[in-house]
C-alpha cells in the first residue's frame, strides 16, 4: 500500500519535535510511580523504553523488557478520556448584581493543540464513542468539543495484548482502523528497530512530508502485519457479544447479579478507569463574597448511592442493582442509546477492580445460567 511509509528512530524523534514546533503539547506514555500512564512528554526519551506491563484481574505491574521497545506495553491505568472529559471542571460562572440581577457566563476552554502519542485502537474506539455521547448529540458539551478540536493523534497498533484485553471481541482492535492522523507499527526484530507509518488524514500526511521517511520493504510490511497478528493471537480474554443485549435484558432479575454483588465493593474504580464512562454530577456553589457562584461538573459513578437519589431515597439502593446497571449499560443499553457498544475491550475495569471482577466472565455467567423466570 502506497500510504505506508517507514520512519526510523531518528525520524520518530523528528516527528515529535515537528509536532512541538507546530505548537502541540505532546501527551504520551511515561513510566511513573510503578505504572505506565499518559502525561506531558518532551521527546522519545520520556517514553517507557524497554518496559512492559503485566495485567490480570485486580493486578497491575510494570517489568523491564529485554529489548528497547517504545510501546511494548498495554492499556494505561487512565485513558485519554481524562484529557477531554475532565474529571472535574467549572462549567458556569454566575454573578449576582446589587439588585439581585443574575448573569450567567459559560466557561468554555480555548482550543489548545495537543498531540496524543501512542493512542491504541481501543483508545480511539472509545474516543469515537465519547464523541457520539458528548459532541455529536443534540445538546453537546461545548467544553469537550473545544478540547477535542485541538487533538492530533499519533496512534500505535498493538504488537502485543495484555492479560485483560479483549478488543478483538469488541471490534476495537488490535489494529486502529481510523480516527488517527498517523498510525505507527513498531518493528523490533533483532537489530531492526523502526516504525511503519500509516497516514489517516491530510494533516497527518502533511506532517509526514516534513520528516525523514522512506519506502518500507516487503519484509517491513510483513513484520508489521505479524506484530498485529501476534497481538490478536495473545488476547487475554474473550467475550461472546452475539445476542448479548437481548440476553442481558431478559436476565434483569437473574440471581447472578446478587452473586457478583457479594464481591463488588461498589467503589466505582471500574467507572473511573473506563474510557467510555461519562456520567457526571453537576454541583452549584456560592463564593464567600455572596455575589459570585459557580457550577462545577465532576465524574460520578452509577455505583454511588447518591447517583439515583430521589426524595424517597436512592432508586438503585442495592449493589446488585448498581452492578446490573453498569454492566447492562456497557454491553446492552448503550447500543440502543448510541448505536454502538459502550465497551471497547480495553480490560481496565478488570485490572483496576480491587477484587478482580471480570466483566467478560460476569456477562457470560449471567447469560448462560438459567435464571428464575421474571417476577
Amino acid at each position: 500500500m502506497e500510504s505506508l511509509q517507514r520512519i526510523d528512530l531518528v525520524g520518530f524523534g523528528s516527528l515529535l519535535a515537528q509536532l512541538q514546533a507546530e505548537g502541540y503539547t505532546l501527551i504520551g506514555p511515561r513510566l511513573e510511580a510503578g505504572t505506565i500512564d499518559y502525561g506531558a512528554i518532551e521527546g522519545p526519551d520520556d517514553l517507557p523504553i524497554g518496559w512492559r506491563d503485566e495485567q490480570s484481574p485486580g493486578r497491575y505491574r510494570t517489568l523491564p523488557r529485554n529489548d528497547r521497545a517504545h510501546f511494548g506495553f498495554n492499556a494505561t491505568p487512565a485513558s485519554f478520556k481524562t484529557r477531554l472529559h475532565r474529571s472535574e471542571e467549572t462549567v458556569l460562572e454566575v454573578q449576582r448584581g446589587e439588585q439581585g440581577e443574575l448573569r450567567f457566563v459559560p466557561v468554555i476552554p480555548a482550543v489548545k493543540k495537543q498531540a496524543w502519542i501512542g493512542a491504541r485502537s481501543c483508545e480511539l474506539a472509545a474516543l469515537a464513542i465519547q464523541d457520539r455521547v458528548l459532541k455529536d448529540s443534540a445538546d453537546p458539551d461545548p467544553r469537550y468539543a473545544a478540547r477535542r478540536e485541538g487533538v492530533f493523534i499519533v496512534a500505535v497498533h498493538c504488537g502485543q495484548a495484555g492479560g485483560t484485553c479483549f478488543c478483538t471481541s469488541m471490534n476495537a482492535g488490535p489494529k486502529a482502523e481510523g480516527g488517527f492522523d498517523l498510525a505507527l507499527t513498531e518493528i523490533l526484530d533483532g537489530p531492526e528497530h523502526h516504525f511503519v507509518v500509516e497516514t489517516g488524514s491530510d494533516a497527518g500526511a502533511a506532517l509526514l512530508e516534513r520528516i525523514p521517511h522512506s519506502q518500507p520493504t516487503a519484509a517491513d510490511l510483513r513484520r508489521a502485519a505479524d506484530a498485529i497478528e501476534h497481538a490478536r493471537a495473545t488476547m487475554g480474554r474473550h467475550l461472546d457479544t452475539d445476542g448479548l443485549k437481548t440476553a442481558l435484558y431478559a436476565q434483569a432479575q437473574h440471581p447472578g447479579w446478587e452473586e457478583v454483588a457479594d464481591r463488588c465493593l461498589a467503589c466505582g474504580n471500574c467507572t473511573a478507569a473506563c474510557p467510555t464512562c461519562f456520567c457526571s454530577s453537576y454541583e452549584d456553589q456560592v463564593e464567600l463574597d455572596g455575589a459570585n457562584a459557580r457550577r462545577t461538573r465532576h465524574w460520578d459513578s452509577c455505583f454511588n448511592a447518591d447517583f439515583t437519589h430521589l426524595a424517597g431515597g436512592p432508586v438503585r439502593a442495592s449493589t446488585p442493582a448498581r452492578y446490573r446497571q453498569w454492566l447492562t449499560h456497557k454491553l446492552a443499553s448503550w447500543h440502543d442509546q448510541f448505536g454502538t457498544s459502550g465497551c471497547v475491550g480495553c480490560g481496565r475495569c478488570i485490572t483496576w477492580c480491587p477484587v478482580g471482577i471480570d466483566i467478560t466472565a460476569e456477562a457470560s455467567r449471567i447469560r448462560q445460567a438459567n435464571g428464575e423466570p421474571p417476577k
Binding site: 454566575v94 445538546d139 457526571s280 452549584d284 457550577r295 446497571q325 449499560h329
Partner: protein
C-alpha cells in the same frame, strides 16, 4: 467565543409565590423571563430551575396563569427546594428548558380523558385540568381521579372545584387517611378507576404520581379494559443536566430527561415492574 452551552440558564423572575398547602410544604411560582417574555413549554414538560448559589432542580410545568405566565409548583424535600421556599416575589432565578416529552393533548380528541394523580403528581397534570375547564381539550369528557395521604395534602382546591362544576368533567378524590371532617372516599386511587364511568375502548389515561401508585393505577386501567397504547405516565429520576450528559436518569435504554418524562405505556411496559432498574 460565543458557543451555545446547554448548561447555561436564562434569567427569569419570580412574579408571585403562592402557598399551596397550609403546611407551607408546597408552593407555586409564577415566572416570566427578565425581558418580560413568557417561559416556553407544554404540559408534561419540565424546566431546570436554578436558585442563586443553591442549585438547580427539575420541576414540571404545573400550569399557566390566564395571561399566559408559566407556573411551577415545588415541594420542599431537600437542600435546594428548601432554599427555594425562602425566595420572594421579584427574585431573579435561572431557567433551562423546556425539556422532555409532553402529554399528548391532540390524542384526547373524541375520547374520554382520564386523569389519574397521586399526591404532588397532580402538579404535572394540573395544566390538563386548566385546559379541560376552559374547553380547550377536544375530549368527550374528563374524569379526574386524585388521591392524597390526608385531606390536608390536597393541592389546587380551586382548580378541582372549577373542574367539578364543569358539566363534562367529573372529579373523584380519595385519601389514605381521613380526618374528622372527611366524608369522602378513603382508599387508594386505583379504586376510583374501578368505579368506571368512562368508555375504556375510547379513553386516554394520563397517570402521574409515586411509581408504586402508577403501577397499581396501570393494573386497574388494564383491568377495566384500557389498552396500554392509550395509557401515558410520567416518570421521575434524579437529573442534573436534563440533556443526556449526566447519565443519572437512565432507565435501561431510556434517558428519562429526553425520551420521557411522559411515556406511552406500551413503550415501557416491560421495564415498569423491574425494581431498582
Amino acid at each position: 467565543m460565543q458557543t451555545q452551552d446547554c448548561m447555561a440558564p436564562r434569567t427569569a423572575r419570580i412574579r408571585s409565590v403562592t402557598n399551596e398547602l397550609a403546611s407551607g410544604e408546597v408552593f407555586t411560582w409564577t415566572l416570566e423571563h427578565t425581558d418580560g417574555s413568557a417561559l416556553a413549554g407544554n404540559p408534561g414538560q419540565f424546566n431546570m430551575l436554578y436558585a442563586f448559589g443553591c442549585g438547580e432542580v427539575p420541576v414540571s410545568i404545573s400550569g399557566r396563569t390566564p395571561n399566559g405566565q408559566l407556573q411551577h409548583s415545588i415541594r420542599t424535600v431537600g437542600r435546594v427546594t428548601d432554599a427555594m421556599r425562602t425566595l420572594t416575589a421579584g427574585t431573579e432565578i435561572g431557567v433551562r428548558g423546556p425539556f422532555g416529552t409532553a402529554w399528548p393533548l391532540d390524542e384526547a380528541a373524541g375520547r374520554d380523558l382520564v386523569v389519574v394523580a397521586g399526591g404532588l403528581g397532580l402538579a404535572p397534570v394540573r395544566p390538563l385540568l386548566q385546559l379541560a375547564a376552559a374547553d380547550r381539550i377536544h375530549c368527550r369528557k374528563t374524569l379526574v381521579c386524585y388521591g392524597t395521604r390526608t385531606p390536608a395534602d390536597r393541592l389546587y382546591p380551586d382548580d378541582l372545584r372549577r373542574c367539578a362544576a364543569h358539566p363534562r368533567i367529573e372529579v373523584r378524590t380519595t385519601v389514605d387517611r381521613g380526618d374528622t371532617g372527611w366524608r369522602g372516599e378513603v382508599g387508594v386511587v386505583p379504586r376510583l378507576l374501578l368505579q368506571g364511568g368512562f368508555d375504556p375502548d375510547h379513553s386516554i389515561a394520563v397517570v402521574c404520581g409515586p411509581e408504586i401508585m402508577m403501577q397499581f393505577s396501570v393494573d386497574a386501567l388494564r383491568q377495566v379494559g384500557v389498552a396500554d397504547r392509550w395509557i401515558y405516565l410520567s416518570m421521575e429520576r434524579s437529573m442534573k443536566c436534563a440533556v443526556g450528559l449526566c447519565g443519572r436518569c437512565q432507565w435501561r435504554e431510556h434517558f428519562i430527561c429526553k425520551d420521557g418524562p411522559v411515556y406511552r405505556l406500551d413503550q415501557i411496559a416491560d421495564l415498569l415492574g423491574i425494581s431498582e432498574l
